[in-house]
């Protein structure tokens, strides 16, 4: 009785099992890839928000997303400073511009420009020492992850931003999303000169609260104190909004979502196809088991165990292949893709679920199998 039948079934015809495992491996790999893209699209859309250290953020009521950032009047920031619970306020402007590398024939690249008032409390601790380098006019800090087309990442080199000469004064690490090929931070002065924008126009007001206060309460107080041309979000709310916008509205986001959905369907169908042919090969044996008196439960168990064995054997190679694929994507497109725990576990859960469902469907045949027909 204690024979691990499913295991012996799997080993009996190694080539056939090999083909089945390979089929499932690629189905799982496909799901890995598409979910990986979707995850990357989501995290990438909010890199800027995650980099800066703030609790609450003030934006124009007309603000929908980073792509179309509308401004509000800087006097709102002065008003915000006096609200109880507010520890510090900082200004951040964002827009897209064009970076040109004079060392490479003025090759242009899209650039996310961040104009920042250089308040050290609002950047990660390890980058605070870099900020004074940006005090002179027309200096920029370049993200190390920027596209190679940006040219050499050498302090002191020159380039142009929106056709205005700038000097590279520091390098930092934030990460580059789908919106642009690279990112730079400048002082607010330099930013306003490059953009020819009025100093009163502010896109983001970053707010840090005092340690003893509660973000939700300070948010309510700010909303009450400020006129209704601005709106206050917590960091999480803003991140959530931006991700939703990106995935539901922007074409790249929708494409990755559609891709993930198709990958599920295809993965499911392929799994079913593989398992159904495996089970129909074993139909005689399973029916015999039934005939000699094993319960339906036992016979189903053997089929499902075998399916799960296949899934387990496929997951490992699929995981390794997807690590390789992520490297390939990074190499081909400079989109940073990471294997996270949540991605690994989601795919594991999905493949177990898909396997179980498709094996149960495939086992319907056994249920109908009549031993009398077989002999």
């Amino acid at each position: 009785m204690r024979i691990f039948l499913a295991w012996h079934n799997t080993l009996q015809n190694k080539k056939r099992s090999g083909a089945a495992v390979a089929g499932i491996t690629f189905a799982v790999l496909l799901v890995f890839m598409q979910l990986g893209f979707l995850q990357t699209a989501k995290t990438n859309s909010t890199i800027v928000y995650n980099y800066f250290q703030f609790d609450l953020i003030i934006v124009s009521t007309r603000f929908e997303a980073l792509e179309a950032a509308d401004y509000f009047d800087s006097s709102r920031l002065l008003q915000a400073r006096v609200v109880p619970g507010v520890r510090d306020v900082s200004t951040l402007d964002v827009s897209r511009g064009r970076w040109r590398d004079p060392e490479n024939n003025n090759l242009g690249s899209s650039c996310m420009m961040l104009g920042f008032d250089l308040n050290p409390a609002f950047v990660p601790a390890e980058h605070r020492a870099l900020l004074p380098a940006l005090t002179p006019r027309d200096t920029v800090m370049l993200d190390r992850f920027s596209h190679p087309d940006y040219g050499s990442q050498r302090i002191g080199r020159e380039a142009t931003l929106e056709n205005r000469p700038v000097t590279l004064a520091a390098l930092y690490e934030m990460g580059v999303g789908f919106q642009a090929e690279g990112t730079i931070i400048t002082s607010l002065d330099t930013y306003l000169t490059i953009r020819r924008q009025q100093a009163r126009h502010v896109i983001f007001g970053l707010v840090q609260i005092t340690p003893d206060s509660n973000p939700a309460e300070v948010k309510q107080r700010l909303m009450a104190a400020l006129p209704d041309d601005v709106i206050v979000f917590t960091k999480d709310e803003l991140v959530f909004r931006e991700r939703n916008y990106y995935v539901n509205v922007k074409p790249i986001g929708i494409m990755f979502r559609a891709g993930a959905f198709v990958a599920f369907c295809v993965g499911g169908v392929i799994l079913y196809q593989v398992l159904a042919s495996e089970i129909s090969n074993r139909l005689r044996e399973l029916a015999t088991l039934k005939a000699v008196g094993f319960t339906d439960f036992y016979v189903y168990g053997v089929g499902i165990q075998q399916a799960l064995l296949f899934a387990a054997m496929s997951y490992g190679p699929a995981f390794v292949f997807s690590l390789i694929t992520f490297r390939l994507v990074y190499w081909a497109s400079h989109i940073p893709m990471f294997m996270t725990w949540s991605l690994a576990l989601t795919v594991l859960g999905l493949s177990v679920a898909m396997t179980t469902v498709s094996s149960v469907l495939a086992l319907q045949k056994v249920k109908r199998a009549d031993p009398a027909d077989l002999f």
Partner: protein, 378 residues
């Protein structure tokens, strides 16, 4: 060999078990759908990015040399257009300004970015329905035309809507049908005086659109123009602008690599599925194959049997795959406004890939048949 000609053995073997055949078809069809999806996304991005160029109504386009892609904003001195106009062959020239603005969605009050094209009212820079009449309406300052195929971000915009652009209300006086690109979500068309009001610099053009006298040798004119205009200008036909943009997007944007990898994975999935199908088919029919061998058919006949099955699978998997792909394209195009269409060369490419996929797996699976030993079977 007589038998082979009279009875389609491969076909009979394939459809002998209808349920399994259907399942096999579905497996192949889905890998075809994946390949269609990846190549569709890839082409969709490239085609959409270049869509604006296909609307240009001109024989030749002048642009600044620095504009190696339409994403570049380099502008051309207006004097170049006047110089071109001095040529006998050039009958008309019109400036086109491009830019971006924030518009406020009248329903939600949210700001959204939009692309702007501006031109002298009454000129016909774009091949759009009723362009002449609509363009004339822009003669009144503060009026705009809205692209009704824009993404669903701008709310309900109809003729008569008062649309806030930047901080100023503008009157929508008509709708056009263009469709967005990947970067921009929609278009606004306006008269150049309305545009210059907000952005100034009327002497710098994004494009100069030239019409030439019928029967002119475009190539000769292009050379003359290039010689006259010096280093600053590019001279191209609208079709060249479009093709250049497609090529640029394909090579410069990260999407290409992503979808190429997806295509390879779809191909590998199909390969393995097809192998699995053929392998099972052969395993199940081993006694038959061995018998065929025993009664004297050649190895070549056995190989051709398997390969015929592989090709049949490719054909019968491709047909539903094509239908599935078309459906997927329709759904994605309607939800993203990305141009997705199946052209004959693209469908042929996928079909050839499917054939290769099935043929390779047939070759892999046929090994087993060749080893079939009648003595083992009986």
């Amino acid at each position: 060999m007589q038998l082979a000609h009279r009875i389609p053995v491969a076909w009979c073997m394939l459809v002998h078990r209808k349920g399994r055949f259907l399942l096999s078809m579905l497996g192949i069809a889905f890998s075809v759908v994946i390949m269609f999806m990846e190549i569709g996304f890839f082409n969709g991005i490239n085609d959409s990015q270049a869509r604006m160029a296909s609307f240009i109504d001109a024989d030749l386009v002048l642009m600044h040399k620095g504009r190696y892609s339409l994403l570049e904003g380099d502008r051309l001195n207006r004097i170049r257009m006047q110089q071109a106009l001095a040529f006998d062959e050039v009958t008309a020239a019109a400036p086109l300004y491009e830019g971006n603005q924030l518009v406020i969605n009248p329903d939600t009050g949210m700001a959204q970015a939009i692309s702007v094209l501006a031109f002298p009212p009454g000129s016909r820079p774009l091949k759009l329905e009723d362009m002449g009449e609509l363009s004339a309406r822009l003669g009144i300052k503060g009026t705009v035309l809205f692209d009704r195929l824009s993404r669903d971000l701008y709310g309900r915009v109809v003729p008569g809507t008062l649309l806030t652009i930047g901080d100023t209300p503008h009157q929508v006086v008509g709708l056009v049908a263009m469709g967005p690109s990947i970067r921009s979500d929609g278009y606004l068309l306006m008269g150049d005086q309305t545009w210059n009001d907000s952005k100034a610099a009327a002497d710098l053009l994004s494009m100069a659109l030239l019409k030439v006298r019928p029967g002119t040798d475009l190539e000769a004119l292009r050379q003359k123009l290039l010689a006259k205009l010096g280093d600053e200008a590019l001279v191209m036909t609208p079709e060249e602008v479009r093709q250049r943009e497609v090529d640029f997007t394909a090579s410069a944007t990260p999407a290409g690599g992503v979808f190429a990898i997806g295509l390879v994975i779809g191909f590998l999935i199909g390969l393995i599925i097809c192998y699995q199908i053929l392998f099972n088919e052969i395993s199940d029919n081993m006694p038959q194959y061995a018998t065929v061998k025993a009664v004297g058919f050649s190895r070549g006949y056995l190989v051709s049997l398997v390969m015929q099955q592989a090709v049949l699978l490719a054909v019968f998997g491709f047909i539903p795959g094509l239908a599935g792909g078309a459906l997927l394209y329709y759904v994605i195009e309607s939800s993203t406004s990305i141009l997705m269409f199946i052209s004959v060369p693209r469908a042929l490419l996928i079909f050839v890939l499917t054939l290769i996929m099935c043929a390779v797996s047939g070759l892999l699976a046929v090994q087993k048949v060749l080893r079939a030993d009648p003595a083992d079977v009986f």
